[in-house]
C-alpha cells in the first residue's frame, strides 16, 4: 500500500472513531470490519483458541465503542489506539490473575505532556509515517523478527522456528533488529 493510501485509510479510521464517539453505528460497523478480523488474527497468533479470539475481537470493538470519546487523534493514530486496547485485553486474558492491572498500558496511553515535549509536537500522521518508513527500511528478516516479537505467543521459539536459526541466536538477532529499528526511527528519511 502506498503512503497516500495508508494516510487516507488512517484518516478514514480516525474519522470513524470520532463518529463512534458520537454514537454513530454505521461508522462503528465500518471500524468493526476493518479491525475485528485483524484483532482476531492477533489473538490467534498469541495462542488463544478460535472462540476466545473471536470473543476478544468483539470485546475489543466493544471497548472501542465505550472509549471512543477518549480517543484524541492528536495523541495517537487510530491503529495504535486499537492495538493498545486489543493488547491490553489480550494481556488480561492471558494473565490468570484477574487482578492484573495494566499500568504499562496506561502509561503508554498517556499523552506526552506538552511540557515534557520541548519541540512542537509532530502531528500523529507524520509520526506514524516515520515509523512506517522505518519498518519499511528493515530487511525482510528483521521485519519478520519484529513482527513475530509483537504477535507470537512464544516469540523466541517462533523466531527460531520460522527463520531456522538456533534459539540461542534469537536473542542477539532480536537485539540487532530492534537496535536497527531505533536507528531508522531516529534517522532522517
Amino acid at each position: 500500500m502506498g503512503e497516500h493510501a495508508d494516510q487516507d485509510l488512517q484518516t478514514e479510521l480516525t474519522n470513524w472513531i470520532v463518529a463512534v464517539a458520537g454514537k454513530d453505528r454505521a461508522a462503528f460497523a465500518s471500524l468493526f470490519q476493518h479491525f475485528a478480523p485483524r484483532v482476531k488474527t492477533m489473538m490467534l497468533r498469541a495462542g488463544l483458541s478460535p472462540q476466545r479470539s473471536e470473543d476478544l475481537a468483539q470485546d475489543t470493538m466493544l471497548a472501542v465503542w465505550n472509549k471512543a470519546h477518549l480517543f484524541d487523534p492528536a495523541r495517537a493514530g487510530p491503529s495504535a489506539w486499537v492495538f493498545t486496547i486489543a493488547r491490553n485485553l489480550r494481556i488480561d486474558a492471558q494473565r490468570r490473575n484477574q487482578r492484573a492491572r495494566r499500568i504499562e498500558a496506561d502509561l503508554l496511553d498517556a499523552p506526552l505532556a506538552e511540557d515534557v515535549l520541548p519541540d512542537a509536537v509532530l502531528s500523529t500522521i507524520e509520526a506514524e509515517n516515520r515509523v512506517r518508513s522505518a519498518l519499511g527500511r528493515l530487511s525482510q528478516e528483521q521485519l519478520q523478527i519484529v513482527r513475530l516479537s509483537f504477535f507470537e505467543d512464544r516469540p523466541h521459539g517462533e523466531i527460531s522456528r520460522s527463520l531456522g536459526i538456533p534459539l540461542g541466536t534469537v536473542k542477539s538477532r532480536l537485539r540487532l533488529a530492534m537496535k536497527h529499528l531505533r536507528k531508522l526511527l531516529e534517522s532522517p528519511q
Binding site: 485509510l9 453505528r25 462503528f28 460497523a29 468493526f32 470490519q33 475485528a36 478480523p37 485483524r38 482476531k40 488474527t41 492477533m42 490467534l44 497468533r45 479470539s53 473471536e54 475481537a57 468483539q58 466493544l62 471497548a63 465503542w65 493514530g77 487510530p78 491503529s79 495504535a80 489506539w81 486499537v82 492495538f83 493498545t84 486489543a86 493488547r87 485485553l89 489480550r90 488480561d92 494473565r95 490473575n97 492484573a100 492491572r101 495494566r102 499500568i103 504499562e104 502509561l107 503508554l108 515534557v116 509520526a127 506514524e128 515509523v131 522505518a134 519498518l135 519484529v146 513482527r147 516479537s149 504477535f151 516469540p155 532480536l174 537485539r175 530492534m178 537496535k179 529499528l181 531505533r182
Partner: protein, 217 residues
C-alpha cells in the same frame, strides 16, 4: 535529571507489545515515566504495533459479530476492565515512588544486612519477576553476585556503580545471567532502587547470597 542508562530496545519493544510480565513491565514503565527518550521510543513502538496490526491477514469473523456487539452496546455492557485503584497516600519516605508502582500494596522494610533493607511490592506474579525496593546506606559494598534470569534495577534516589557504569536517579540497569557484578553505593547519600527480579527460587538464592556474608558479621 540526566539519565544515561536505559532499558534495551528489545525490552522497550516487549513492553510496547505487551510481552513483559507484570513485574518487569512495572519497572520499565517506571523508567519511562522519568525518561523522555524512552517514552518517545516506546510510543513509536506502539505505533509500530498499530501498523503491524493493520498488516495482519484478516481472520474470518462470525457473520453476526457486529450485530451481537451492537446488542451488547444496547444492553449498556461495559468492557470488562480492571481499573487501577487510586493510589493511597504514601508515607513520606516513599514520595519518590513512581506512579506505575503506586497502585500496588507496599510492604514494610525488612532488614537484609547492615545498612541494607528491602521492601516488597505486591505486584501479582505468575511466573514473572518479583518487585521490591532495595535501600542501601551510603558507601555500602553489595556482595559480588550473579543473576539467575534477568534483574531490572531502576535507581530512584542516590547512586551506585559497578563494572558496567554509574547509575544515578532514573538510570536503568538491565542484567541477565551472564552478568557478574559488585555494586557499590556511592558515599554521601543512601540509594533506593526499584528492582524486578525473575523467579521465586532465584530470589531466595540471590538473597541468600546477599545475606550470607552479612550474617557472618
Amino acid at each position: 535529571m540526566t539519565i544515561s542508562q536505559h532499558p534495551t530496545e528489545e525490552t522497550l519493544a516487549a513492553l510496547a507489545a505487551g510481552q513483559l510480565d507484570e513485574g518487569r513491565a512495572v519497572v520499565v514503565a517506571a523508567h519511562i515515566e522519568m525518561c523522555l527518550a524512552c517514552r518517545s521510543l516506546a510510543s513509536d513502538l506502539v505505533s509500530a504495533g498499530g501498523i503491524l496490526l493493520g498488516e495482519l491477514a484478516p481472520s474470518e469473523i462470525a457473520r453476526d459479530a457486529v450485530a451481537r456487539t451492537l446488542a451488547r452496546i444496547d444492553r449498556g455492557e461495559a468492557a470488562a476492565e480492571v481499573l487501577a485503584k487510586p493510589a493511597a497516600a504514601l508515607p513520606p519516605d516513599l514520595s519518590m515512588l513512581p506512579a506505575s508502582v503506586r497502585p500496588y500494596p507496599i510492604g514494610r522494610w525488612h532488614w537484609m544486612g547492615p545498612g541494607v533493607y528491602w521492601r516488597p511490592i505486591g505486584v501479582p506474579r505468575e511466573a514473572g519477576a518479583r518487585v521490591f525496593l532495595l535501600k542501601a546506606a551510603p558507601g555500602t559494598n553489595m556482595p559480588h553476585h550473579t543473576h539467575k534470569g534477568t534483574e531490572l534495577t531502576l535507581v530512584l534516589r542516590g547512586e551506585f556503580s559497578h563494572a558496567l557504569g554509574n547509575f544515578g536517579p532514573g538510570d536503568f540497569d538491565e542484567a541477565d545471567d551472564s552478568v557478574e557484578h559488585q555494586p557499590i553505593v556511592s558515599a554521601g547519600e543512601e540509594c533506593i532502587c526499584l528492582v524486578a527480579m525473575e523467579g521465586r527460587l532465584q530470589l531466595l538464592g540471590w538473597m541468600g547470597r546477599i545475606l550470607q556474608p552479612f550474617v557472618r558479621i
